[in-house]
């Protein structure tokens, strides 16, 4: 284990950024999101939750796939280059790291998504333990230990000191590169920090949600529940929950005409939208209740059914914070929990 004092972090960032792109939480107009580090960037690793997760570093909100040009009456197709430059994501929390695992299941299983795979390959994840978990956090429910997140490197911010521990080969390579910026440290402070965090997690209101009613079996059991009709009604059909979610992975593919031809790109889509998966014959889910149900059933029933029980929720709580109508997955889980009693 290594450590570096907080005041030297800028030097650390600069060192990481040499040869890598460095993404980390940056504050812009009052909000913190992952962004590219520059010398003038307002780095903010104190904010627990970035508004959007770190998902869009690996799976951008919109990305070009290829361009079609018309040359002398013929079409010429040029694919977008895959990520070649290595990059580092710093300050990613345990829940978001877990979110990457979910995305991997989608994008790295056959057929592999080349764009995503290239980014995963080139990216090194430096996670950060959560010193002050929030009311809306319930990562524990999904087996995430926010005191000891996964990642190529795990870091802890204890007081004015950042502790650094490489966990993988990628992480070790990065650590090596940083040379004597990091100094050796013992683990005592970190152990104490973990204990403190675990104690807080126990006091979180949603830490003990029961997932008994969920999992693969729920696909049949819960689909026709009358609860959906009650739960969905305040839903505005906006995409806030999907866009802040670290695991939502649906996208749409569209064309855009530019001065140099047609650009085909993909962009995040939301199952909450009425035109989601709209096809020539219409829509396979016509009511908002169906769309609302889809989102939660996907996260808590269909996904585990297809992925050995792995839920596609990581308990980050962003949707709990951001839903304009204060609807969220916690309320859904609790409603089904009560139903049984």
């Amino acid at each position: 284990m290594y450590k570096i004092s907080k005041e030297n972090l800028n030097a650390l960032y600069a060192a990481i950024a040499g040869g890598n792109d460095l993404f980390l939480p940056v504050k812009n107009a009052g909000q913190t999101n992952f962004g590219l580090w520059t010398e003038s960037a307002d780095v903010d690793i104190d904010t627990l939750k970035t508004v959007k997760s770190a998902k869009d570093i690996f799976f951008p909100q919109s990305e070009s796939l290829y361009q079609v040009r018309r040359q002398d009456g013929k079409l010429e197709i040029q694919g977008e280059a895959l990520r070649e430059k290595p990059f580092v994501v710093f300050g990613i929390r345990g829940c978001d790291v877990k979110g990457m695992e979910v995305l991997d299941k989608v994008f790295l299983s056959d057929p592999v998504d080349g764009y995503y795979a290239a980014r995963r390959q080139m990216g090194t994840i430096v996670s950060l333990a959560c010193g002050r978990p929030e009311t809306s956090c319930f990562c524990k429910v999904f087996g995430v230990d926010c005191a000891e997140p996964a990642g190529d490197v795990v870091t802890w911010l204890v007081g004015d000191t950042l502790y650094w521990e490489a966990k993988t080969k990628k992480g070790e390579a990065l650590t090596e590169k940083l040379g004597n910026l990091l100094e050796k440290a013992d683990t005592a402070d970190v152990e104490k920090e973990k204990e403190k965090i675990h104690a807080i997690v126990e006091r979180l209101p949603y830490s003990n949600l029961s997932l008994e009613k969920w999992g693969a079996a729920a696909a049949d059991q819960n689909f026709d529940s009358p609860l959906w009709e009650q739960l969905y009604s305040p839903c505005l059909a906006c995409g806030t929950c999907t866009f802040v979610c670290p695991t939502c992975q649906c996208y749409d593919i569209k064309d855009y005409t530019t001065s140099s031809g047609v650009q085909r790109y993909r962009c995040w889509d939301s199952c909450m939208y009425s035109d989601f998966t709209m096809m020539a014959h219409g829509n396979n889910r016509t009511s908002q209740m169906q769309r609302f149900r889809q989102r939660f059933m996907h996260k808590l029933a269909y996904f585990p059914a297809n992925n050995n029980g792995m839920f596609s929720c990581v308990g980050c709580g962003r949707c709990v914070d951001k839903c304009p109508s204060h609807l969220n997955i916690v309320k859904v889980i609790k409603a089904f929990e009560k139903e049984g009693q």
Binding site: R70, D72, G73, T257, T258, S259, M278, G282, N283, T286, S287
Partner: protein, 662 residues
Amino acid sequence: MRRIGVFVCHCGSNIAATVDVKKVVEMALQEQGVVHAEDYPYMCSEAGQVRIAEAIREHQLTGMVVCSCSPRMHEATFRKCAERNGLNPYLVEIANIREHCSWIHKDMAEATEKAVILMRAAVAKVHLNAPLQAGESAVTKRALVIGGGIAGIQTALDIADAGYKVDIVEKEPSIGGRMSQLDKTFPTLDCSACILTPKMVEAASHENITIHTWSEVEKVSGFVGNFTVDIRKKARYVDMDKCTGCGVCQEKCPSKKSLNEFNRGLNTRSAIYTPFAQAIPNVPVIDATACIKLKTGKCGICEKFCQVGAINYAQTDEIITEQYGAIVVATGFDTIKLDKYGEYAYGHSKDVITSLELERIMNAAGPTKGHLERLSDGKAPKEIVFIQCVGSRCSDDRGKPYCSKICCMYTAKHAMLIRDKYPDTNVTVFYIDVRTPGKNFDEFYRRAVEDYGVNYIKGQVGKVAPQPDGSLLVHGVDLLENKQILKKADMVVLATAIEPNADVRKIATMLTASIDTNNFLTEAHPKLRPVESPTAGVFLSGVCQGPKDIPETVAQAGAAAVKVIGLLAKDKLKTNPCTAKADELRCNGCSQCANVCPYGAISYETRLVNDHGIREDRRIAVVNSALCQGCGACTVTCPSGAMDLQGFSNRQLIAEVDAICR
């Protein structure tokens, strides 16, 4: 996938000299969907159209673009050509590479590049054009003529004689207009009333003509073939059906101090009056601002003396609504106000008068019973000076920039008449130019000089100074002699500029007919469509379109009538198919579009809609395509884009934008 043909016209050298037409053809063939492109010296020619026809057949075109002159010139030509050859006319677009390109650019490379872009925009639009079918609307076989002067009367008579109903709306108590105020007419010197009155009588007695005098047009809605017009019939206070026109009321009326409008305010009339003896209808009106009974409730003398009980003080304005297929504007003219011409002392001296006032003075029914006398002292003038171009041909804000056209001739007429009737009265005319184009016009003017000894001096008058002895000192100049002239005169007559009647702007707005900076109504084309307004179904007759003398006015009145007859002879009109249409799946039924529709073409109905499986009753906008004129105001008001305009759809316009900006 569209199969588009692009036809590039050289227009002789009009286009080809500045635009590389071969290059445009070459670039057109690069465009998606373009299966054929060619250039030709004159696409609009018979031979050019044959080539288009062949291309349509050979390449089975489903859309075409003609790169040529403005669509205002030949869009109709090419659309008809397409239609004849089995291609819907609305699948044709014009790229205007002449007026908007070759004629304004000098550099060939630059002009060619622009022509290519304009071609691309048209091709992009054609991709999205839909075949449209013109609808039909019925024609109301009745015409409205606004204004009952010689122009309006002649137009109405010609239309009526062709067998169609015509209504004349005249704001004065009688038809007749300016011509009824004139004494004699040039160049024949026949009596104005003698030739006008028979026409007035003919109009009044014509079975197809309805005359609304003392009436004004209040509101116009609808469109060509189907106008709906509200006419305000002002309270006359005299029952038209009962009155016999005996005239006793006018004699007995104690309120006699109102200025006589017909005599240009040179004398007074009673509160109940007919403007002149031959008035049609010969039914008086009561001037409510002068009538003692109407103002104070006391009097009622006319009622007492009226033997048929025609007086009705309780009458009020009445609005009648009528349907018309065509509207003719014949609102005529007035002389301009002279308050900005202090140097001519008009208004300071009673002996400085306008020519129109002289007409009344010379007229036997006028304020002096036809005796030429000074209004100040009643004496016969021995020296009369005429000043030409008062307020005409002025580039400052005091007058009008145009030539009033009639002044040279009527001044010659006045001078001649005076010299004829009063040989010992000297007449001097100060002129800038004497303009006498017209049959027998110059001869007429020369007679004034040669046979009647009228003294024509070239040079504008600078000032008219009233003298203590009652005479007028005219400061003039003789430019040919290069001498200044100071001339003592007993009377000065100003050839005052004429201008369109003050009401014409209001009427033009109601009709949405366009009007120029001088308030003359604009013709659809200055040479080829001189009696039509750009607004379909609205025609122009007389001076409202531009200065004219009587024969020209009558000729134009007849021309306007022919256009109206041509329109009314049709049972159906093809309507513009480029109308708005609401997409029922996206319409919110919010009514915003109806609020901006100038034609009331949008209504709402609740109907069952199947929106991708959701079936529900929805309030949906419905456009009446017979009423819609295709302005597109509704389309922008519609936030969801449900309302769209056929032929100028959102996607078509965006495609053009994209093509230009790419």
